[in-house]
Assembly symmetry: C3
Homo-oligomer: 137 residues x 3
């Protein structure tokens, strides 16, 4: 068994951003030289997520509108009594999920035809990290 650990850093230009990271993950998997295994991709900050879905601009817009409806910003959240203003970001990332496990088969990501991996930032414009850990052999 071998393990390979890497990290990606993100500083988004806007507060909320969905970033396609599939190619970067694929490059890390290639560098790991693991033929069969699991690749964990997990946000290390609690106002960001990682999810798998479609790389289509309209749908990405729909996701943002939908999340704002289900977990609105600007409400009088209890969390904001600490001085924070990002409670909605914690909730939004909970809906999207904060991690995925990608199967690695014959040395490649074993993804369906439309599966793309996204970093979902809900409180950005500062340096935040994602861990990528591959285990297998």
């Amino acid at each position: 068994m071998r393990a390979h650990t890497d990290y990606l850093w993100f500083t988004t230009r806007t507060r909320r951003e969905l970033v396609n990271i599939t190619d970067r993950i694929a490059a890390i998997v290639a560098a790991a030289k693991i033929a069969e295994g699991f690749c964990l991709v997990s946000a290390m900050h609690i106002t960001a997520g990682v999810y798998v879905n479609d790389w289509e601009n309209g749908l990405m817009h729909d996701f943002q509108e939908w999340l704002e409806k289900l977990a609105p910003s600007g409400l009088n959240y209890r969390h904001h009594q600490t001085g924070e203003d990002n409670a909605d970001a914690h909730l939004k990332r909970t809906i999207m999920g904060h991690q995925v496990i990608l199967p690695v088969t014959k040395g490649d990501l074993d993804l369906g035809p439309w599966e793309q991996v996204f970093y979902a930032e809900f409180d950005g414009q500062r340096r935040k990290r994602v861990v990528i850990k591959i285990m297998g052999e």
Copy 2:
């Protein structure tokens, strides 16, 4: 360490369907002859999910009604400008989750008394795939 990869195909009769796949997963785990490990079950299409919950018809009905409330079909989604009509299916599968990791202990799925594994189809009536990958020894 050993890895065993298999795929299940689904063509549901209706557009939305929740299919109990626990026995099929258990059979793949038995075939893998892995005593201790992890079993990933992950939808390879982005309008379907995989989740663990109760196999009770009333609750399955409640899930469908609840998802329709949180992520309604028939809205004027931006994604539909591409010609698609399934934006709600992308959102519904996001709430349910698209993958689970099942522990394998002493050669069997290590599940609680009521845990059952489901394939959740939200845009069916066509051939779609789930990957099952077991890693361990």
Copy 3:
């Protein structure tokens, strides 16, 4: 490759409770003596969840209020025709997620600065279990 399996039991005093279990997971990881691997933490009951987020009382309060809004208790759920009254607990745990995979790097949980692991009980006051399975070497 080595595997280490453990279980945590919970009997919460109230029906709904969010319990920080990070230290207990870290102790199990230390006992496993696995330097590089994955640690699965998964609720074995279907009205409870496991999630990673902030250990801040205000936010924990916000989570509970938000879940009650998205998946209200007391509705006339079809599941309740079985005599149960906890359909909302099944839905709430679905939003929070029922499991996480924590990376183990150099013998420790590889978590971000604010990442804490929680057991989320939505139908408690009775004995329920979480499986912790670590795989690696």
